[in-house]
């Protein structure tokens, strides 16, 4: 025995199936194409914004802040006995690498050009373990622990004859690896340095820095020996940054422990804004997709008003007819979503990867994954269901005689 509801669904599936099979191929292709475009729209904008956010976050973590930053919370801006602190931090589970930095403001000059920078004294080996700046050298090489009288400059400081970079007009413009620059520190020390290398991470804040070795920094500012202005930590990929930061806070008082998101507040504010923009655009996209499906279904239902009237006159229930329209919408939405997903993954993303968008923090690659594609498909499906329900419901409210004979 088949239940009444099952028979009703059986008829709905039959009507939807024959309607799709016997539909005009041009109309089917147009409908699927419109839905696929709406689906692409649902994938592209979040993909771009997710790419932007991921790139910005990666740049902050890998070239600017590290995963966790520790600063002094006391009046003395230096963290004392930093070696002991770093050893204790390294013992915490989830910590992958630790390095220290000291900083001093300076004016750097070359020929007739001069610019102000923050010079960081770094431990090159630790720096390479926490950051990826050494992998972005466009000229020369990165620092070694034994380097003295050598400086590594960001491209926004050196200029490097690249007039298209963002801060070129404020840079030294024509400095290259091997040139000699003059550095006048805020503490009155003035030194000549050989430019050992120039890095270009494409993250402006990083590329506006100058780096010297810890050994060199202590010759410029001997008072900082054994202390650091900040400690930078890289966590293991499977570790929770917040959890590791919490454990560090327990180690000793007088420290300000910040996650990379806290440290680079501008990026957090930017990513928050991107999420808001993403949500707004998604709502707009859903409306566009919904209205598109509504128009397609409305025209279809209007053309089939007489058929609907006949179906009702011969005893087909309203629910069967309604479900048949919803099934058609689901079919078109699924096909549209599949086309959109495939076009995005196999056409749009590879093309964009070849010609990536360029932003102030680097090249941005479209991001997507099963959750994003599934979400777009669900949104498209929901929009299609609502948009097909309304015109079908309106048609089914019409009197049978009016539907058949107008």
């Amino acid at each position: 025995m088949i239940s009444k509801a099952a028979k009703s669904v059986r008829v709905a599936i039959f009507l939807a199936g024959t309607s799709v099979r016997r539909a005009n191929l041009g109309v089917v292709l147009l409908t699927v194409m419109i839905l696929a475009l709406a689906g692409l729209n649902l994938l592209f904008v979040p993909g771009l914004l997710e790419g932007l956010v991921k790139n910005a976050n990666d740049q902050v973590k890998n070239t600017y802040a590290g995963d966790i930053v520790i600063e002094s919370a006391t009046e003395n801006s230096q963290i004392p006995d930093v070696q002991t602190l770093t050893n204790r931090i390294k013992a915490i589970g989830g910590v992958s690498a630790v390095t220290t930095r000291n900083t001093l403001g300076a004016e750097v000059s070359f020929e007739n050009e001069r610019t102000n920078v923050v010079v960081s004294g770094i431990a090159p080996d630790g720096e390479k373990a926490v950051f990826t700046i050494d992998k972005h050298m466009i000229e020369g090489t990165f620092l070694e622990a034994s380097d003295v009288d050598k400086v590594v400059l960001g491209v926004q400081v050196a200029g490097a004859d690249k007039p298209n970079i963002e801060l070129y007009s404020r840079s030294l413009k024509r400095v290259h690896a091997g040139d000699t620059v003059t550095v006048s520190y805020a503490n009155g020390v003035k030194k000549l340095y050989t430019v050992k290398g120039i890095f270009w991470t494409e993250f402006i804040q990083t590329d506006a820095q100058a780096l010297i070795s810890e050994k060199e920094f202590e010759t410029v500012n001997p008072q900082v020996a054994g202390t650091a202005a900040s400690v930078r930590i890289k966590t293991a990929s499977d570790a929770a940054v917040g959890g590791v930061a919490g454990q560090i806070r327990q180690l000793q008082s007088g420290l300000r422990v910040l996650t990379w998101e806290d440290y680079a507040g501008i990026v957090r504010s930017m990513t928050d804004s991107f999420h808001v923009i993403n949500t707004i655009l998604n709502v707009v996209n859903v409306l566009v997709a919904g209205i598109t499906v509504f128009i397609v279904t409305y025209i279809d239902v209007t053309n089939r008003r007489r058929q609907i009237g006949i179906q009702r006159a011969i005893g087909i229930t309203r629910s069967s007819i309604m479900v048949s329209y919803l099934l058609r919408a689901v079919f078109y939405a699924i096909v549209g979503a599949v086309f959109a997903g495939m076009a995005f993954v196999y056409i749009v993303m590879p093309v964009e990867a070849r010609y990536p968008f360029h932003f102030p923090f680097g090249e941005v690659y479209l991001q997507t994954g099963l959750p994003t594609i599934s979400r777009a498909a669900v949104i498209l499906l929901g929009a299609a269901l609502v948009a097909s329900f309304v015109p079908a419901w309106m048609a089914l409210r019409t009197k049978i005689l009016d539907a058949i004979w107008g």
Partner: protein, 222 residues
């Protein structure tokens, strides 16, 4: 079988009030073959649509198998249209996307078993002389063939009542005779009560009883 009492139907076209049915009372016995005749605009089709539960009257009552049907909710009327009433429209009213076979068995899917409606549909098409056209689409059939498909469809759920609204209006003489003879044969063989509307006086020959309407009123009964 069907008892109609003081049925009226009034339409409003703009400010003009049209009384399409004016106090119609008729009784249709089980197994009868009734012709509703009259000139164009006399109310024949309006009455048939009332009997077929496609429209509601302005006033009056109608009892199908002793059950009052004018005030039933739409879902219940749809169930009766499906299981008790077969309706043949003047202009065939087949679904263009379905084959003749599918058109016939579609209403059967609503109440039939897993596959029996398909066999029954094919059998009905053979019964109306279209056993070799079951996989043809409506546009591939002549007017007379389409009307016979519509008759087969109307019979798929073994209705107690078969209603045909000017079934030969768009057909040539030979096709008209085939369709009317099919109705008569089905009335005899299947014992299905049949009511058909016609404006052609020669169709009286097919009916056991005739009701003639004029201006929405019964002008002649016999």
């Amino acid at each position: 079988m069907y008892d109609v009492r003081e049925l009226t139907k009034t339409y409003h076209v703009g400010k003009v009030r049209i009384r399409a049915l004016d106090g119609i009372s008729i009784t249709i016995p089980r197994g009868d073959m009734v012709a509703i005749m009259g000139r164009s605009g006399s109310g024949k089709s309006t009455l048939l649509r009332q009997l077929g539960l496609l429209d509601r009257p302005t006033s009056g009552q109608a009892f199908l198998e002793l059950k009052e049907v004018t005030r039933l909710p739409e879902a219940e009327r749809a169930r009766l249209r499906l299981s008790c009433i077969g309706y043949v429209f003047q202009e065939y009213a087949l679904l263009a996307e379905l084959t003749a076979h599918q058109n016939v068995y579609l209403p059967g899917m609503m109440i039939g078993g897993p596959t029996d409606y398909k066999e029954q549909g094919a059998e009905l098409l053979r019964l109306v002389g279209l056993g070799d056209r079951i996989h043809h689409y409506p546009k591939e059939l002549s007017g007379g063939e389409q009307q016979r498909v519509a008759i087969a469809r109307a019979l798929i759920n073994s209705p107690k009542l078969l209603l045909a609204d000017e079934p030969c209006a768009n057909l040539d003489t030979i096709s008209s005779r085939t369709v009317m003879e099919t109705l008569v044969r089905l009335n005899k063989e299947m014992k299905v009560t049949t009511v058909f509307v016609s404006h052609d006086p020669s169709d009286r020959q097919y009916a056991k009883a005739v009701i003639v309407l004029s201006d929405g009123k019964i002008a002649e009964k016999g």
